[in-house]
Amino acid sequence: MDLLIRIAGEAGQGVQTTGNLLVSAFAEMGLHVFAIKSYMSRIRGGLNWFDVRIGDAPLYAGREPADVLVALTDEALETLRPYVADAGAVLFDADPEEEDTEAPAGCLCIPLTAIAKETGGSAVMANAVAAGAVFALLGYDLSALTDYFATAFEKKGEETVQANTACAEAGADRLGEEAAGSVEAPEPGDEAVTISTGTEAVGLAAATAGVKVATAYPMTPATGILTYLAGAAEAYGLVVEQAEDEVAAVNMVCGATYAGVPALTMTSGGGFALMVEGLSLAGILELPVVIVLAQRPGPATGLPTRTAQQDLLFALHAGHGEFPRAVFAPGTPEQAYRLTRRALETAHRYQTPVLLMTDQYLADLVMDTPRLDERLRPIDRHVVADAGEDYVRYAVTDDGVSPRALPGGEARVVLDSDVHTEDGHITEDLEAHVRLQDKRMRKLAGLTADALAPERYGPADAARLLLCWGSTWGPCREAVDALNAGGASAAMLHFAQVWPLEADAVRRAVGLEGEEAEAPEAITVVEANQTGQFRQVLAEAGVPMECESLTRYDGLPFTAADIVKRIQT
């Protein structure tokens, strides 16, 4: 069984703090968790909410109905109450000043803020009061929460631990005996569950891969990675620099990789648009530049804090001129960790830019994640150490990859954004232009051979196949389970690499080709954009197929129910 707790209020009220507190405490109790936040592009006010889903089995996505709503404002109550399940409960932060006004019917009214001030001495601890009340409501032993306080607030001192504990206890007491345990909740597990956000996974993977320079101009939803790396800078020995704009950010990464360190930058659609010229530069200079493109709805400024998968075709075709690239699109924090490293490795193996596409949903979600390796394990840069005075940077080779030396030694390492000869110097020799262009594009064969095949989930002979890429992994997986539980026959194929695609591998995976080829009766491409971009990519990769598009582009993530309902109607 599983349960969803929704905490809602204004920006600045501690919605996220309460959510994070519950997520961490639940995970410590051995519950499986999945959490997402839904927030507005502002610093104070508005309506933000944080969904914490907990279960006795792994969870892969969010859902719309809530079993518990913690409403911190009237607006939160009005807007979100219709989405509370029939047997659900609503906790409302009652204002004691207005005690004679009638409490909203059916709500459990608790003056969270007033209790926090009275018990903890600060309104900030309303989070602890709310968490205590939620724990009591679900019938969980409060000690699991207060044990968590002891470790989480250890650095802040015993006083903070005590105050938060007192607040949680007061919240639980105030809920009252009648309501305690009134919402059926999943059984905690035996062992603590490890969790991660998409953002943390990307940041940790970059730091452990030996990234030494990270630059960015802050842009939601990519900023979290920059913040993570700034926090990790001391431990991993890297420099994080906030650039004056995205143009500078990507050109700094070009410079840093030329000088020999793994480096990356991160942005969202608008910032990526500014990086396009630098991407093309990395293409002709053959630099191992990695850009994380955390998508949000566009065009232009769009919806800064919402999610989308609208930049796929843009990412694939960004940059003037023609040059090879690889594009990865992880579906979970665990994949994000693996693929961030792979993106860096691929960029260095082939000396060409690589993009990692995430989105607000993946960046912010929290879910069960196997413990991610925190040890520094620098990647192979594929550089030559013994280049002499006769070295040329762009020697023509069969696979298109030239021996790469670094500046600072005997070899002069010459790079030019103009068309150049093998030695890197500017030329207008058109034969050299074609020779070097062909050399660069030959890397595409290697990139294609190395491409990750799509991963299948569900029965091999399923009648319906869902195709998805990037962050739709979780909602599709839950949709497959729901469809099959309902008697249908469904499977999914998830693409964690969206370019280049190996056409034969894709055909085999779909069932269009191979010894026991059995094409599914229906193929649905699920993606968070309006025009079915991945469907177009499949055709471009040489795998056109009869399929329908199931799209969503309102800025909110897919849910399993959403997919199932639309498939069945």
Binding site: G210, K212, V213, T215, A233, E234, G237, L238, V239, E241, A243, E244, D245, V247, A248, A249, N251, M252, V253, C254, G255, A256, T257, Y258, A259, G260, V261, P262, A263, E277, G278, L281, L285, L376, P378, R381, L406, P407, G408, G409, E410, R412, V413, V414, L415, D416, S417, D418, G424, H425, I426, T427, E428, D429, L430, E431, A432
Partner: protein, 272 residues
Amino acid sequence: MINPPSDNRPAWCPGCGNFPILKTFDAAVEEAGTDRRRLVLVSGIGQAAKLPHYTRASVFNGLHGRALPAATGIKLANHRLEVVVTSGDGDMYGEGGNHLLHAFRRNIGVKCFVHNNQVYGLTKGQASPTSDPGFVTKVQTRGVVLAPVRPLALAVVEGCSLVARSFAGDREHLKAMMVESLRHTGGTVLLDILQPCVTFNQVNTYKWYKERVKPVPDDHDPTDFESAMRLAMTWGDEIPIGVLYRSDRPSFESQQPALEKGSLVEQFEQAR
């Protein structure tokens, strides 16, 4: 296929101010004792930006206007390298203006040699950010109306470590300024080099500059902000050349704990 002839001789006009800058640069590298194995020349696009191809060094000839961010990335990754930007006024003061401003603030140890001929050469004669008001071109047909960029004043305001000006027609002075720049270890250097464009600028000629350039007064104190600003804003009948300003701000790299144990590239190699 008709293949145009190609060689690696300078693509500059006969008499171009870039020739003396190139010769003087080579002499300055010699005199400063700069190890050419550690020398990286970074440039953007334009006639001046081609200089790195005509000498011996490692080269990052990047995008128009983007020399500074690339140079910053290189210096960050390996601050043991001598990173010198050589590019023109269009590249550095126009297309790359935002980077210039923030480079001064950052104060990383990159030396910027800006060949300033007050005109766009490679695109054939349009106004540059430093063109004087009234300068007539095929685009600015009634003369430039924009106020000129004052790069040295901007550098002084933002605390650039060393701010200097020289003239391509005075090679001894230019060499002295380049040597001083190469030996400087305190942070960003801006060396603005007045350079005639013999093809597209018939106003600011060798003669025009020669009549106006004047060494900064002997009693000028380059650590005096107000005095430096006065000189930086002096333009017209007299144009001061020499070291205008020195700031005592610490360099960017000296404030990075990650660089205390060596360059990032060395640290990466040690960790492997």
